[in-house]
Symmetry: C2
Subunit: 351 residues, 2 copies
């Protein structure tokens, strides 16, 4: 990373903004010392926070604006009226090349609508998808769409598969990631028209995708595939269901250790190991959802995250840039559109 | 339960049938001493298992058949050709009144298709839903549909809400259960046409349903509502995602306790409490999915369950009968169809 990466931050987005944003930027800077930040937000609130962090302050260019997109603003309204908002200005800086990517913990719908309008779609992609990492038995997988599209057709799912594949190869560094389509059963007959159609096309594809086939809900955590493809309605509900289960299990576990004197003593001996378990399933580690399919890098952080989680979301944007994910998706999409519709005959070696 | 309940069992359905079925019936009989069982299956396999259990044998009428619906048989084929199968004969016994309900751990699609054909739908219900209990922070909730219908419209979701409400009041014994519609956000604008339409109708309903509104995935485990209503595609994936997470968490926990000598010692002290935790999240406790909306009681057990899990599925069928769930759903549906379409003006007290 000798050239450095410039990341635009919506300083006013998120429940604990701008403090959490500034602190998160500081943590991210420690991890990636050559990031430069463009911060967009209320100068009178942000400046004092930077004053306490001279190292971060020297890596930041602050752009003042008073406008903020509220959490309950409709995306269409935010798009029309919020042109001087911290969110919009941060996205604009990616569009005009001043920044390599944008991170916001603000209103998800507004961020998606503005990013789509300002950054446009990659050629060959009809709709963006929200992608994120997911902890599994084997490490982590990529899952998309997590809520950008309530309804998806066969073509959308095929495009998501292709983007997820490139993402897994570049950001996760996997040589031949497996891609699975989330369904209610593994047999060909199962599911709706969209998943059956997408499956047929992915099986016959000329892209380099290693298509596993249909997977079921329990395959997500099992790590059966590296890339889980689904529509935004199902994906959003599945991921939030999993988060809810993790939280419930954590609470049950805590209650177990308060259960008796013996259990309390056991906790004292096991707490190092339990701390590791907690770290392993810490949702902040998986914070930072990518809007894949846009012509620029845009990452959404959980609105309720803390500085540690926000720093991870910044890390996702940096990884996207450093690994040249968008260029690689562009190349794959280009190959797909140039590819013959029937597989080419294999050359027979005569040597 | 002075009159006793007769339950028909598909002795040949499930990975470990018929041994698991017979053993499960024995466990269920200990819990509900006045059940009578009709067992349908291969006499030469079932008879020796009964011989070892004289108490159970005296509560069983065995009906021999050689035919079995295989796990990979298409539902339509099972319906046309499997008329002498153990599954079909068990369902027939409910239709002709010899049994009060049927339990099978066999092919889900075939069981649904045959049960729908033989037992018919309740008047006013267009499609059956698969309902099951789900562990939550507050105890347990009912969730439906878990996979009977890949696509659902507004009307289906409203009917599921009504059936889930009656089920929660009768089987869970709740006075005023809350009903929530699973969606990708809580705002009115969120989601697809089906959930938005169903929400509008449930808000204006003249049924006694206490409609909470939209809930999100993490609300399931949080126990935000008593009845979670969703389409079969999303519901199936959400429940299996949750099962996968519970399994992953259990594995992480086990690995944590093997992590160091100190953690192993901690385990020795805490194992009583941890056993309780395991019991609390044991999926066998939640085994037994109900096909709600049919004119008879049909319960599907997990195919891979053991005798303990199968006994719980039998318990669900017994509870359905004892609590008169079907009759109560019939009454509610009748009220719904008689109800005026506009809310009646409230009488003003003059006293």
């Amino acid at each position: 990373m000798s050239d450095g990466v410039t990341i635009a931050l919506d300083a006013m987005g998120g429940d604990h903004a701008p403090r959490m944003v500034v602190k998160g930027a500081d943590i991210a800077l420690r991890r990636h010392p050559d990031i430069h930040f463009l911060l967009f937000g209320a100068e009178e609130k942000v400046r004092p926070l930077l004053a306490k962090r001279p190292r971060l302050a020297s890596a930041v260019t602050l752009h003042h604006t008073d406008e903020v997109v509220a959490d309950d603003t409709r995306p269409s309204l935010a798009l029309r009226t919020g042109r001087q908002s911290s969110m919009r200005l941060a996205i604009d800086s990616v569009a005009d090349g001043r920044a390599d990517g944008v991170v916001s913990a603000g209103n998800t719908g507004a961020l998606m609508a503005i990013a789509k309008f300002v950054l446009k779609m990659l050629p060959g992609i009809d709709r963006p998808a929200i992608a994120s990492f997911f902890p599994t038995r084997r490490g982590e997988s990529v899952m998309l769409d997590l809520g950008a599209n309530v309804e998806c057709d066969e073509e959308n799912l095929v495009q998501f598969a292709l983007m997820g594949d490139v993402f897994a190869r570049t950001v996760l560094g996997l040589v031949e990631p497996t891609v699975g389509l989330l369904n209610v059963g593994s047999e060909d007959l199962k599911g709706n028209d969209a998943v059956r159609g997408a499956s047929a096309r992915l099986r016959g594809t000329v892209t380099p995708i290693h298509f596993y086939g249909f997977i079921e809900g329990d395959d997500i955590a099992a790590g059966t595939v590296d890339v889980v493809v689904t529509d935004g309605f199902t994906g959003n509900i599945a991921v939030k269901t999993a988060e809810g289960m993790a939280k419930l299990f954590g609470e049950f576990l805590e209650a177990s250790f308060r259960h008796s004197l013996s259990a309390r003593i056991g906790y004292l001996f096991a707490r190092g190991a339990l701390r590791k378990l907690r770290m392993r399933s810490d949702p902040r580690r998986y914070n930072g959802a990518i809007f894949l399919g846009l012509g620029g890098i845009a990452v959404k952080s959980h609105g309720s995250t803390d500085a540690f989680g926000f720093a991870n979301a910044i890390g996702v944007a940096v990884d996207m840039k450093v690994n040249g994910v968008l260029d690689k998706i562009r190349i794959e999409l280009g190959r797909l559109s140039e590819a013959p519709s029937a597989p080419e005959p294999r050359a027979v070696s005569t040597s």
